[in-house]
């Protein structure tokens, strides 16, 4: 068991009434799964992903990550978990504009205090693997959207995380680029990386091993 959510509730209060963002969510994820979270806009996909990624808290329920309780985690432990286990891929790529492709991919390794020689080897591996060696000295602004997302994924992978969280990873890409990215995810998953993605696209969902449907913050078991 990689992680488990039990009866998770998350709400905001508007005009004296509770509006539920997440309503009684139960979910267990085994290592090696490729899970797709689907649902219309506002159904809570991103919120759920943020909770899993510990970017966001919740009001009620229990969350175990590798048998560790996450409900009351401190910032320090959280950044340790990020460093060790989790890689993020964003719809807007979120590369650091001031850093080159090479340096962007290197950054998580810096935070892990990995030695310079080892860093070089790891980053070179990634550049090789994603065929972007020729672009390593370019800045994000000089790349196309698809290329930026490749760099984003390379950066998420370089620290060898157990879990990749991807929020609409292809949302800003055209269909050819999308297909490339999804095939890459499938390959990674085959290599043993757990992936959880949120998406609108049925095609993308097809790459996953399991799909969870959300509607108004609840799991929609009807589909």
């Amino acid at each position: 068991m990689l992680l488990q959510l039990k009866n998770i509730y998350k709400w905001v209060t508007q005009g004296g009434r509770r509006v539920f963002l997440l309503n009684d969510i139960n979910l267990s994820v085994e290592a090696g799964e490729f899970i797709t979270i689907m649902g219309p806009s506002g159904s809570g996909k991103s919120t759920l992903l943020n909770v899993i990624g510990m970017l966001d808290g919740f009001q009620e329920g229990e969350y175990q990550f590798l048998d560790e309780s996450v409900h009351q985690i401190k910032e320090k432990q959280r950044s340790k978990l990020y460093k060790e286990y989790i890689g993020f891929v964003f719809q807007q790529y979120h590369l650091i504009d001031e850093l080159t492709v090479y340096e962007n991919i290197e950054t998580p390794l810096l935070y892990k205090n990995i030695k310079s020689s080892e860093r070089k080897a790891l980053v070179a591996d990634m550049l090789d693997r994603f065929n972007i060696v020729g672009k390593k000295d370019l800045f994000p602004a000089q790349l196309s959207g698809g290329q930026q997302q490749l760099v984003g994924i390379a950066r998420a992978l370089v620290a060898k995380p157990k879990l990749i969280l991807a929020d609409e990873p292809t949302g800003n890409l055209n269909s050819t680029q999308s297909q490339e990215i999804m095939e890459l995810f499938a390959t990674l998953n085959a290599e043993g990386v757990t992936i959880i993605q949120a998406t609108h696209s049925e095609t993308n969902a097809g790459y996953g091993s399991r799909t969870i449907h959300l509607l108004d913050g609840r799991r929609d078991h009807s589909r």
Partner: protein
């Protein structure tokens, strides 16, 4: 990691040229100012550090009683030093110093040349022991033992003789004494209170022949055993007075002033001989100025950094999901600030070095440029750098590192109520500081202007004082007068012991009826023409008689109104009354003049009298000229002067400049303050400019939508500017009472002063608003004129 931080920092600097330029320009200007002011403060505080005995040296000051206005003087009677050395066990050695002619220049004659020397002193042989002055040539122990010997500084030796090998050479003083040089000393440093170029042996002077307990003219220094307490010395000096001086002669008490306080804490002490007088007030007000300016620049940096944080916040969020801890982000932002302040400080020091000569000139000091290379200066630069980095970097580092990753990545633009409030608060703070500076400078200038415009009660217009101190032959003086009067531009000419703005002789007037101790009076030996030249307003009676018969023992006196008030007469009643001012003389009041400001406007007007008793020399000729362009005609006067007395150098001063010299410290503070205030306002405006640019950028979309909905350019400009204008108004409201309080305090120093009306405030408000509106509206108009679609397409 630090390399990575620096890399990001550097790329950020390069990627935003405008904001980096604003930041670096603002910071480097302020750091240049801080550096200069620091140098000044350091230089002032380093005064007399080179004298290793300084902790054991005390200056004897003399405090007068009630009837002499409780004045403190830097001079003591000639008997004090030698007696203290014998009678007070703690005193190892005593040194008496007397400046030639109470500060009037000496006329030096060498074989081939004549010179004016303003740094000629008479000193006891203990000079070289008390202050450890090493002689390059000559024997330190007996260099000043004999009459008519002197030691001379290296530079002065070169000036007089063209060489520093002058042992055994001689020169004359005021054409009547011949002095042999028995030693040459290294030039005294610029941060030494001792500023003599020539020290003549005290044995040469009048005072060693006639030492008294009453004539207080000698600056007296006591070298004491270690750990001697000033209080103990005070007590023992009182005992010494009680023992040696009969009670009626004890019109003063003596106080020991520790030598390390002499430079900065002597503004209340009169008649110190040194030309280098510091003031702790000036040092502290300039320290505040340096601090304010540094704060303004740091706030700039904070504001611009946090305004940009909206863009930077994404980077923070991403870094956090990549495992960056808060502390590593704090380090990163500090690194970035450190880089910017480092560039700024290098630039700032460069600016400071270039402007040091001008600063020296304005401030009237001599900061040697090698101070810039000293270890202490480098060290303090590092300190300033650290302080600026910590100060400027604190807010961005702490604020931005605490961004939550989720909020930022989900496109929350930040800019919460708090961050905006803090940014506004900082802008307000900045303008409060600038406003105080502007009001302060305005008030100082108004006061100086008031002093210049004020009717002093006499005229300084086109009056020149020519020194005839070196002319000993009275026939020559008469000839000189005659010759000068022949010049067409000279309309009147008088002679006097001194002139307003210059100390003359201090005496006492006894009240005929009451025994109240008397009234301290300044007496000036003058002739009738001198009073005419000064155009004093005669209230009653007549001027001094222009011709005096030989053998006439009557002394005529013209007094000011302060004296008749004291004696209880109406001006007209006072004419013909006997007065007791000059001991043992037959003196009568012949005229009463209106009060006039013979001293600085800091002091209330005291008693002043002109008389014609030959008790003092008439040291000056006062010339009234017809022409306004004085400097051109001076050479003609000089030619005439030299044809009569060629051995005496020509020394003159313009009366209006003499009066201005009384306010030199205020002038200096005002000019330094003005330049720096303008820079401070400029730096604050740089910040405002940057902030306005960011606001415009941030409200980009809003502006686009408003324009699509039909808003006018003017409307949008107003919308964007009004926020800032409000902030400036708040700042003005806070700053006005503060600055009123501060400046009103400052004005208390002057017995005659302006009232702070509403003008400085209206001026400052208009100025600040105008500058702010111009700064902000430039950005606002630019934003308002943009095609809305460029803004809306972005999303």
């Amino acid at each position: 990691m630090i390399k990575n931080h620096l890399k990001i920092a550097w790329r950020n600097v390069v990627a935003n040229p405008m904001f980096s330029a604003i930041n670096i320009l603002g910071l480097s200007l302020s750091l240049a100012i801080t550096t200069l002011l620091f140098l000044f403060i350091y230089h002032e505080n380093s005064f007399n550090e080179m004298y290793t005995n300084k902790g054991q040296i005390f200056r004897v000051t003399l405090q007068t009683g009630e009837s002499y206005n409780n004045t403190v003087y830097a001079n003591a009677p000639a008997m004090v030093g030698p007696t203290a050395a014998v009678e007070i066990p703690e005193v190892i050695n005593a040194l008496r110093v007397y400046k030639h002619g109470f500060g009037d220049p000496a006329y030096i004659g060498t074989k081939n040349n004549s010179f004016i020397e303003t740094g000629l002193y008479y000193a006891d042989p203990s000079l070289c022991t008390v202050f450890e002055i090493d002689l390059l040539n000559g024997n330190k122990d007996n260099a000043l033992k004999n009459p008519n010997t002197a030691i001379i500084s290296e530079r002065t030796a070169e000036r007089f003789f063209g060489t520093s090998k002058v042992l055994g050479q001689s020169f004359s003083i005021d054409d009547n004494k011949t002095i042999e040089i028995t030693g040459v000393f290294r030039d005294l440093p610029t941060n030494s209170t001792l500023d003599g170029n020539v020290y003549v042996s005290m044995a040469t002077s009048f005072f060693s022949k006639n030492p008294s307990w009453s004539n207080a003219s000698l600056e007296t220094y006591l070298l004491t055993t270690p750990n001697t307490n000033a209080k103990v010395l005070d007590k023992k000096m009182q005992e010494m007075l009680d023992k040696n001086v009969p009670e009626e002669g004890r019109w003063y008490s003596l106080k020991a002033q520790p030598f390390d306080q002499v430079h900065l804490y002597s503004s209340h002490i009169q008649n110190g001989y040194s030309s280098r007088k510091g003031s702790i007030d000036q040092v502290s007000s300039l320290s505040w100025l340096a601090f304010l300016i540094l704060i303004i620049a740091c706030i700039n940096y904070m504001n611009l950094a946090t305004a940009r944080s909206q863009k930077r916040s994404r980077e923070v969020g991403v870094s956090k999901t990549l495992g960056a801890s808060k502390s590593s982000l704090i380090r990163r932002f500090y690194t970035e600030t450190g880089l910017v302040t480092f560039i700024s400080i290098i630039l700032g020091v460069f600016i400071a070095i270039l402007s040091l000569p001008y600063f020296n000139k304005i401030a009237g000091i001599e900061i040697p440029s090698d101070l810039l290379l000293s270890g202490i200066f480098i060290l303090s630069l590092v300190a300033i750098w650290l302080v600026a980095t910590l100060l400027a970097g604190s807010y961005p580092a702490l604020y931005m590192s605490s961004f939550s990753a989720k909020k930022v990545l989900n496109g929350d633009k930040g800019g919460s109520f708090w961050t905006i409030s803090i940014r506004r608060g900082l802008v307000v703070l900045q303008f409060v500081a600038s406003t105080i500076l502007i009001v302060g400078v305005y008030v100082i200038y108004s006061q100086l202007n008031y002093i210049q415009q004020k009717d002093l009660g006499f005229t300084t217009d086109r009056v020149v004082a020519v020194s005839i101190n070196g002319v000993n032959d009275q026939n020559k003086v008469a000839l000189l007068k005659e010759q000068l009067l022949q010049l067409p531009e000279v309309t009147a000419l008088g002679a006097a012991q001194g002139y307003p703005g210059k100390n003359v002789s201090g005496r006492m007037i006894q009240h005929p009826l009451e025994d109240d101790g008397g009234l301290a009076v300044q007496t000036n030996r003058a002739d009738a023409e001198a009073l005419d030249v000064l155009q004093l307003r005669l209230l009653a009676g007549k001027n001094l008689p222009s011709v005096k018969a030989i053998g006439d023992t009557l002394v005529e006196v013209v007094v000011n109104k302060r004296i008749t008030d004291y004696l209880g007469y109406e001006p007209a009643e006072a004419i013909g009354q006997k007065i007791s001012m000059l001991p043992g003389e037959n003196e009568y009041i012949v005229g009463v003049v209106d009060n006039f400001h013979y001293a600085s406007l800091r002091e209330p007007i005291g008693a002043y009298a002109f008389h014609n008793l030959a008790s003092e020399y008439k040291e000056f000729l006062l010339l009234k000229l017809t022409v306004s362009d004085l400097s051109q005609h001076i050479s003609r006067i000089q030619d005439r002067f030299q044809t009569v007395v060629d051995a005496v150098p020509f020394d003159y001063s313009f009366m209006d400049q003499n009066i201005e010299k009384l306010y030199i410290e205020e002038k200096q503070t005002a000019s330094i303050g003005m330049i720096f205030s303008i820079l401070a306002v400029f730096v604050a405006c740089l910040g405002l400019f940057g902030l306005a640019a960011f606001t415009a950028e941030q409200r980009d979309k809003e502006i686009g939508i408003r324009k699509v909905l039909g808003a006018s350019v003017l409307g949008i400009t107003k919308l964007l500017s009004i926020d800032f204008i409000n902030l400036i108004c708040i700042a003005l409201l806070i700053a006005f009472p503060l600055s009123y309080y501060i400046m009103n305090n400052w004005l208390q120093e002057f017995a005659y002063r302006i009232h702070i009306g509403w003008t400085p405030f209206v001026f400052t408000a208009l100025f600040a608003l105008l500058v702010a509106i111009m700064t902000v509206s430039f950005q606002s108009i630019k934003a308002a004129l943009r095609n809305p679609i460029t803004a809306l397409r972005k999303e």
